[in-house]
């Protein structure tokens, strides 16, 4: 066994490093082709500006401080909305997973509300809140609520009953049982919910900011459209993509740190 370990360990360690480079080849090639296509006039810059133009537009907006301000506004809306919707969803998931009574009272209602696409509420939300901050926060929170609620509930309900029985046999109190058995058992599923929720969070924010906002990335893109600044439009789209990727990576790091016991996350 020690022989196998010492042979397979370095090989395992080399793999991700190669992967790290390989996965960037295709995106870089696409950007290069895109640049060539624009410079040679194959693609008219009215349709798609060259990457260099997009970068230049980004640089200018960065210098004027406008870019940072808009990113910050969007980031703030996303996080606050996520926190509000996520904690309410988590609380309901816990409550309905642990208490029959709570589940009977609220689960059916929540499942019904779930069938309303939350973006369909935009006209109503604008009537309620105007194009105020609260409108965006409400929409993001609502969008984030369901994946977190459903996956927390699912995670708690599918904790191995044999482990729960084991905990009881060994005299765990309710709170110990929750801390040592139920919550760690539900965590993988909760993370699935978080990752789903992060995707919905950005999607909701883009739509909400595009339709009803006076600041933020979506607003910046819409303003640019009015002035035919296509490079800024493309820039905003790319930044959205980047932020989405960042959020996903952050959740993966967190997942890796808290689920290190899980065979799927073990390096050796």
């Amino acid at each position: 066994m020690s022989v196998i370990d010492s042979v397979s360990l370095p090989r395992n360690f080399r793999l991700p490093r190669v992967d790290g480079l390989v996965q960037w080849i295709v995106p870089l090639a696409i950007v290069a082709l895109w640049q060539i296509a624009c410079v040679t006039g194959l693609v008219p810059t009215r349709v798609l500006p060259a990457p260099s133009d997009v970068a230049l537009a980004g640089w200018k907006l960065l210098l004027s401080g406008e870019l940072i301000r808009n990113i910050w506004v969007s980031f703030w809306r996303a996080s606050i909305g996520f926190l509000i919707g996520g904690s309410i969803g988590f609380a309901f998931g816990l409550g309905n997973g642990l208490s029959q009574l709570s589940a009977k009272l609220t689960d059916t209602t929540l499942q019904m509300v779930r069938n309303v696409p939350h973006l369909a509420l935009i006209p109503l939300v604008i009537l309620w809140f105007g194009i105020d901050e609260s409108a965006k926060l409400f929409l993001v929170a609502l969008g984030v609520f369901f994946p977190i609620y459903l996956n927390t509930l699912h995670g708690i309900r599918t904790v191995d009953p044999q482990l729960i029985e084991m905990g009881r046999i060994y005299g765990m109190t309710d709170s110990e049982l929750f801390r040592r058995v139920i919550f760690p058992g539900a965590l993988p599923s909760i993370f699935v919910g978080i990752r789903f929720a992060l995707g919905i969070m950005w999607l909701t924010l883009i739509v909400a900011e595009t339709i009803a906002a006076s600041s933020g990335l979506g607003y910046m893109a819409m303003q640019a459209r009015e002035f035919m600044l296509i490079d800024v439009v493309v820039l905003s789209i790319l930044i959205y993509a980047l932020l989405g990727k960042l959020a996903d990576s952050a959740s993966r790091v967190l997942e890796r740190a808290t689920l290190s016991w899980h065979p799927a996350f073990q390096k050796n």
Binding site: Q162, L163, E165, I169, G171
Partner: protein, 278 residues
Amino acid sequence: MQTALRTILPETEFGSRANFAPHARVAREERPTQISGLPLGIRGLRKSYGDNEVLRGIDLHIPSGQFVAIVGKSGCGKSTLLRLIAGLEKSDAGSVSFGDEIQAEDIRVMFQEPRLLPWARVLSNVEVGLGRDRSSTDAHVRAEKALAEVGLADKRDQWPSVLSGGQKQRVALARALVSRPRVLAFDEPLGALDALTRISMQRLLERVWRDQGFTAILVTHDVAEAVALADRVLVIEEGRIAHDVVVNAGRPRERGSAELAGLEGSILNHLLSGDDRT
């Protein structure tokens, strides 16, 4: 593996104890108090699930420290009996009594599945077995001792998922032993293991039982295992104890001896004769 881990872990008191080294046993015998097993009295025990009368009146006395094996066809109620003894299920009638005031930590159960917490390291899994003493200051030390008893001291910081089936079951045994129980109930604990691992686990069970003197109740579908380990084999049929067979062979027992094989054959005959009648 041994060598690799040795270099990672410093030579601790436990790390240096190879699996079942003789000097480990000497150390155990020097331990001051030997808590003795509890006697067990069962009277008129009945249990039904709906129309299914599983146990139809079990009467049984087990002297303290005896090793009893329970065999019987699948579905005859062996697990049910064990769960009633361990207090995991309520009986419809009858009683289970132990000779003494008991605490939850005095009775432990081991199942066919190890039921380890996948998100807790091996040592923390063993600490779970301490019950209310989990948060006491010597919890670590006691858990380490129990791990050393099952020969897994060097695995204390591993995740359960990297252990083999037999090793997981040994961790589960350490968890059951760590509170020094006076009755230990086993529900086919070796059922999922391969033949060789089974035999070494049987030896381990016998050794800890002899060292610690608890009363052992082992449910098994393997009659050879029952006669190899137990002082007494009970055959359950139609919800009652149909046969109560004493195994007089001395210990340590020689596997496959003519005496044990003869006993095994006659118990198997008991079990199979029911088939002819129905």
